[in-house]
Amino acid sequence: MAAQAAAKMEVGTDVMIDLSGVNKWYGQFHVLKDINLSVYKGERIVVCGPSGSGKSTMIRCINRLEEHQRGKIAVEGVELTHDLKNIEQVRREVGMVFQHFNLFPHLTVLENLTLAPIWVRKMPKKEAEQVAMHYLERVRIPEQAAKYPGQLSGGQQQRVAIARSLCMNPKVMLFDEPTSALDPEMIKEVLEVMIELARSGMTMLCVTHEMGFARTVANRVIFMDRGEIIEQNTPEEFFLHPKSDRTKLFLSQILHH
């Protein structure tokens, strides 16, 4: 059934994100070792792996929250260099959802959503507010628009954060462990929103340990360990027939605990 759902969602042939030979060091520590990855338009990729394996670092390199030291990263053909123009152009087109939401606590939910469209996209305020309300309805919390993030539950905050990214009309969405900081009863509401987003055809790259999510919507699962991509495959193959021992060990640890 999961396979049928995944099959319905078309994957294009245009390369959205291209990483080739990416290397990164923290001081002496080699966090990313020769990463090669192409993300196609409409693809939904789940990245998993033990903590410290470099998965967060990898996706944070894609919108330049982290700088890579060797190799090439391009988003829609725009290469990430030291040129601030390129970096800001890429960030405009790439949405990101963080583990700790990173909402702006001094602004209302609505202001959180309209800030970037107004100042980065130069959208008129009225229009930005309409867009914001549209996405708040999509994440099912339009009634919270006038509240401050501190007054919402964790699950609601993360949904606001997703809506905030969507307001910029991004071409790709990056998720950095979006459910790891949530109480168990709130994980579901966030995953539902993410699944819906995946079904709408958004290109997504998710670092997550939610294997149910991976089975439902991913068309590729990537396993990383110690800074390398060890294995990548369709969810069915990945979960049923993992190739490497490290993958088998990891899967046995997270699936039977």
Partner: protein, 383 residues
């Protein structure tokens, strides 16, 4: 209903009871706060005795035994008031303050021109009200007026020229001078401090080094020596024949000094912000200045409010140091007044009056900052 012991009730049916009477009410409060142990009781007794010894004599001196009214000869205009008019009462001689009040307020500013000072101070009060009040919704014109139009207008009105009688700054003094130095220091040190704090956190090495050098230099030197330097050294660096007004030098010195302290307080606010705030904003494509203006500064300044107001208050009080370069600020002019041969013996009255005015101004600032903190608190403590 509390007759049935809780332990015999079914789980899930236990009612919420009010706390024991001994924990609440006046008696409970006194037991907790005044007589909790023998040591607390001792402290309470000592404190009560001290209050009894200090407060009644002070109230007597300040209010009950004080001289408030002019004698009939002064009222009828036969002569001016003097210290001996207070001889009948053992308390404070408030007619000293009454007789000297205009001078305490305006310094040596010519009497016929004092309306100009009034206008400047009233405009100051009105625009501060406009900036702070919740009732004024559109702050943009107020901000423009206050930071651009008002300083020019105020200096023209006070200094004169262009149709007004010139009044040189050596005639400025009293409360008005204190207000001028404090406001200039406060208004200009805040933006300057913000820029210095941002510069200190900048990744550009030269900018960073310059800001660190300036901040550490200004903080490492007492305000007194900065005032001395502004007074004595600054003219040496200027081309021959060019001189800057002494008040101007003091204003620059005080502002730069205050800006260094302000920068450190604001840097504290900046450092208290979690990294996620920067990342959240950068991931949305906001540039450095947008990020700083909309996300970082509003939050950093809110965190830094207690420190900022603390700086404002100490700046307002530090202005009394300008006496050292010969300016007659509020405190200095009151002291000078009580050294007048007609008023010898009124030092105490002068100091108490000064203390009271300073207390009112600074207490108001402190209260406002507490109100502001509460108002800007949007229910977020952690992130």
């Amino acid at each position: 209903m509390s007759d049935i012991p809780m332990s015999t009730m079914e789980p899930g049916t236990r009612p919420s009871l009010p706390p024991p009477v001994t924990e609440t009410g006046v008696i409970g409060w006194m037991r907790h706060n005044l007589f909790a142990s023998w040591f607390d009781t001792l402290l309470t007794v000592v404190a009560v005795i001290l209050i009894y010894l200090i407060v009644p004599p002070f109230v007597n001196w300040v209010i009950l035994d004080a001289t408030w009214a002019y004698p009939p000869e002064v009222v009828s205009g036969e002569r001016t008031a003097q210290f001996s008019d207070c001889a009948a009462n053992s308390g404070a001689c408030w007619i000293f303050v009454r007789a000297r009040l205009p001078q305490f307020f305006y310094g040596f500013y010519p009497e016929v021109e004092r309306w100009r000072v009034d206008i400047v101070l009233i405009m100051l009060a009105v625009s501060i009200f406009g900036l702070l009040s919740n009732r004024v919704k559109n702050k943009k014109p107020v901000v423009w007026f206050f930071f651009v139009v008002y300083p020019i207008l105020a200096f023209w009105l006070l200094l004169g020229g262009w149709g007004l009688e010139p009044v040189p700054t050596r005639l400025w003094g009293g409360f008005m001078l204190t207000v001028i130095i404090s406001s200039v220091g406060i208004v200009f040190s805040l933006p300057l401090g913000i820029l210095l704090a941002l510069g200190r956190r900048s990744k550009l090495p030269i900018l960073h080094a310059l800001c660190v050098f300036f901040i550490e230099f200004a903080r490492g030197v007492p305000l007194l020596s900065i005032l001395f330097m502004a007074n004595v050294l600054l003219p040496l660096f200027l081309p021959l024949g060019m001189s800057i007004d002494i008040l101007m030098r003091v204003l620059i010195g005080v502002t730069l000094f205050a800006a260094a302290y302000m920068a450190e307080v604001i840097r504290g606010g900046l450092q208290a912000l979690p990294k996620g705030q920067y990342e959240g904003a950068m991931a949305l494509g906001l540039g450095y200045w947008q990020l700083t203006r909309f996300i970082i500064m509003p939050q950093a300044l809110r965190i830094a409010i207690p420190g900022i107001v603390n700086n404002f208050i100490s700046l307002a009080q530090d202005t009394t140091l300008v006496a050292i370069v010969g300016l007659y600020d509020f405190l200095n002019i009151v002291r000078a007044g009580s050294r007048d041969s007609k008023w010898i013996g009124t030092e105490m009255e002068g100091y108490v009056f000064c203390a009271l005015i300073y207390l009112i101004c600074c207490f108001a600032m402190s209260r406002y900052s507490m109100y502001l903190e509460r108002k800007l608190h949007t229910g977020h403590k952690k992130r």
